[in-house]
Every structure is written in C-alpha cells, then in structure tokens.
C-alpha cells in the first residue's frame, strides 16, 4: 500500500468513527431533551401552570406592589416618611428579637454540631457505628425545613420566639454538623497522630491535633449560618414562632399596604447590616490565623 493510500484510508476510518460518535452523542442529547420535555409538561400539569391566569395576574402583581409603595411628596417628605414608618419603634424591637432568635439558635445549634461533629468524621470518630449514627442524625435535622419544626414547636410551646429558636437550633445543628465534620476530615492527620503517639487519649488528640486546625473554618461557617438564620427567623413568625414575621403576616392578611413595604424594607436593611457585620468579623477572625501560618 502506498503512503497516500494509507493516509486516505486513515482519514476515511477517522471520518467514519467521527460520524458514528457524533450520531451517538446526538441520539443521547435527543433522549435527554425528550426526558426534559416530558418533565416540563408533567410538572406544568401538576403545578397548574396557566398562562391565561399569569397574564391576568401580572397586572395584579404590578398593582399590588404599586399599592404597597408609600406616598412620598417632596414638600412634606419628612411627615410622609414618618407616616409610612409610623410604628418604627415597635418594628425595631421586633427586628431586634428576630436577630436575637437567630443568634441563640445559631450558637446552641452550633454547640450541638461542634460536640457531635468529631464522632461524625472519619479521621477522629470513636467507632463506625457512632459515625453512622451522628451522620444520619445530621441528615435528618438538616433535611426537615425550619418551618416544619416551627409548626410543631408552636403547637407545643405556644406562639412566641422560643418555638422559633428551637426550630432554628435543630436545623442549624444538622446543617453545621455536616459542614463541621467535612472540615474535620480535611484537617491534616500529622498533629492528631503525633498526640496519639505521645501517649495522649483520643480527646487530647482532637483538642490539640484537630481543633487548632479547624477552628477558624468552623467559626466562619458559624457566621455564615447566622446570616442565613437571620433571614429564616424573619419569616418564622408566619406560623407564630416570633419575630417580625408575625407582624408582616398580619399586615399582609389585613391588606395594610404601606406597612408591607415598610416592614420588608426594614427586614432587607437588617439582613444587609448583619451580612456586612459578619463579613467584617469573618475577616477579623480568619486574618490572624492566616498570617500566623
């Protein structure tokens, strides 16, 4: 066979394989597309999607949002703002309670997570059985939404912030426990082994071999969770579990429009302030640890 013929042959083999590969890929893509389309159609039917209703509803939504906006005239601006935020003192106290609920829930949920996370991680757990138990407990706590816990606790303890705190606490314990355990597993094994080799117990090894490595990491997760929990706490009041959500739900149901925008604005501001504060604190916590390395 001549060189030219061999080249032509190779080119033909290539183009045949390329065509086969491409048609295979296209068939797979078509299959996924069909599956996707079926999912869209089925969920549109189950979800009662109705474009006519959307078209009819869109002006309603715009009108609704328009009605919530306050009337602010330039010549009487301060009086108008005062009228808009007429209950600001009550609302600020409620907002404060919301943040405090998130704080207590985060701290105690984080404490539970910190106590259990070492059992849940592969490198420093006591036994495989304890590890599985701790991990499953985290999964269950993490997967049940806060609001579901809150519904049950409101029934038991009555309306008020305590039910909300318990709900946040349990959900945070699960979410943080999983993250903490993963952070532990990423810690370097050397210090842990060294403490064991020097005759320390497992608890010593965790305290002096793992904790110094993971502490900044855990604290930064804790701060992130606090930000998330402030958001969550602001709506728990919808089921009666304390905080500003109660007031928001009340004014929504009673169609006190301008109060709706005032409260939503206050929640947004509070969330933004907490976010910025946590960001600052996180940098302050992590910077010295990073500099020491």
């Amino acid at each position: 066979m001549t060189v030219a013929a061999a080249q032509a042959d190779a080119a033909e083999v290539f183009s045949r394989r390329f065509a086969a590969h491409r048609s295979q890929r296209r068939a797979a893509s078509a299959g996924y597309a069909a599956l996707f389309l079926v999912a869209v159609i089925v969920s549109s039917i189950v979800g009662e999607v109705d474009l006519a209703r959307l078209a009819a509803g869109l002006p309603n939504i715009a009108a609704y949002i328009g009605r919530t906006l306050p009337v602010l005239r330039l010549d009487t601006l301060w009086a108008d703002i005062g009228e808009w935020l007429w209950a600001i003192d009550i609302w600020l106290v409620m907002l404060g309670d919301t943040v405090l609920m998130a704080l207590v829930g985060t701290v105690f949920g984080g404490a539970i997570a910190a106590l259990l996370c070492f059992e849940a991680s592969e490198n420093c757990g006591a036994s495989p059985l304890a590890r599985q138990a701790a991990r499953r407990a985290f999964d269950v706590l993490r997967s049940v939404p806060e609001l579901v816990f809150a519904l049950v606790f409101v029934f038991a303890f009555g309306p008020g912030p305590f039910a909300g705190v318990l709900a946040i606490l349990l959900h945070s314990a699960g979410a943080l426990g999983k993250l903490f355990a993963e952070a532990n597993e990423n810690a370097e094994a050397g210090p842990y082994q060294a403490v064991l080799a020097a005759g320390g117990t497992r608890l010593h090894a965790i305290r002096f071999g793992i904790v110094p490595q993971i502490l900044p990491n855990h604290l930064s997760y804790l701060l992130l969770r606090f930000e998330i929990n402030v958001r969550a706490a602001s709506v728990l009041g919808v089921v009666g579990a304390g905080g500003i959500g109660e007031e928001l739900y009340l004014v929504v149901r009673q169609f006190i429009y301008s109060d709706i925008s005032a409260i939503v604005l206050l929640i947004l501001l509070a969330v933004a302030i907490v976010d910025i504060g946590c960001e600052k604190l996180r940098h302050a916590l992590i910077a010295p640890a990073g500099a020491a390395r």
Binding site: S43, V46, S143, P145
Partner: protein, 259 residues
Amino acid sequence: MTDAAARHLKPALLWLGGVALLAFACWRVAPTAEAFAMGVGKLGFLVGFMVPPSAGGALWPMLHALAETLAMAFLGTLIAAVAALPLGFLGARNVAPAALLHFGLRRGFDGLRGVDSLIWALIFVSAVGMGPFAGILAIAVPDTGVFAKLFAEAIENADRRPVEAVRATGGGRLAEARYGLLPQVLPVILSHILYFFESNVRSASILGVVGAGGIGLALSDRIRLNNWDEVAFLILLILGTVIVIDTVSARIRRGIIAA
C-alpha cells in the same frame, strides 16, 4: 497599660460583650417556667402520638401534594434559570462594559434575593390566588436574582483564550459563544441550577403553609387538626424526598464537574 496587656484586653472585652449579648438574647426568647414545662410535656405527648406514622387513608392526596411540591421546585428553578440567562450576560462585566448598567443590575439582583421566598409567596397568593402557581412564581422570582448573579460571575470567570481562538479561525459571534464560551460556562451553570433545585424542593415543601400549593398545606392542616400520626408520615415523606433528591443531584453534579 503595656502593649501586650492591650492586645489581651481587646479579645477579652469582645468575648465579654458576646457573652453578655447572648445572655440578653436568651433572656428575651426564654419562655416562662410553666410554659416550658407544659411544652415539654405536650411535646412528649405528641411524639407519642406520632408513633406509628400513618397516612390515615389519604396516601394518594398526600403523594399528589408531594408531586405538586416537586413540580413547583422544578418549574420555579427552570423559569428562574431561563429568565436569568440573558440577565447574566447583561450583568457580566466582560460582556456588558457599561458600568452603570452593570451596577444597576447587580443591585437589582441583590434586592430580589434579599426577600425570602415565603414573603414572595404571601404576595403572589394575594395577586394570583392560592395554589401551586403562586408557589412557582415565589420560587422563580428570588432565584432569578441569585442565578443572574451567579451566571454573570461564571461568564466573567471564563477564559478568554478559547473565544479568541475560535475568532482567529474565522468563527462568527455565534460560533464564539457556542464553542468558546459555552463549554466553559455550561458545567458551572448546570451545577448551580441543580444545587438550587435541591434547596427549592425544601422551600417548596413549606410554601403551602401560606396557601401556595404543595405538601406544606397538608402538613399545617394536620397539625391544626391534631392528627400527629399523619404529621409524622408527612414529615417522613418530605425527609425521604429531600434526601433522595440531594443524593441523586449531588451525584449528577459530580458527574457534570468531572466531565
């Protein structure tokens, strides 16, 4: 006071302040002793009623409510992703050079996602009526903001060289986007979408509490009616679904990132 003493004093004061704040917070949220004792008693009581969990003959309506929840999460995520794609392109700095437009869009995204989906659900229930449709909108609207931001970041982080390579070989703008940008951006975008689908299944399961469809309505009804065995069944149903979706979606995400 020496420097060293000052350095020790500051963290000590911070800790003291933190502990004081926590103590104050505990005092604010703590129930009265009687309420606590009664609550613990009631809690033990209703946990006792929860065993064994039972569907109470309403298995099919419950499964339908669960399907509704999944449909809400799926369509809400999908609508948000589709709406966010052009917004993401507009918000990306390397694609949209107009600084003012860029800034305005980013702030708009932040505003949408600062409001929890339950609050959006309250608004949409008032505007389009009760039912899963309001829930879909309540998931789609805040997520559009987050997606637009994430997509914009993914596009900004994309490597310019493949795009330039396609242009150098004579490709048009469409070919540039398809062969230069898309292969880099698509895996990131898809894994964001899947991650949000997971969390939206969780959100969708509670939107029913305010009348926006899904299994949350069944749950809050059962609690109001004191049917604790059915409550336990519904919670297990939500729990199982969330864990299955999380596991499957995590596996797909790993596959997308690896490919």
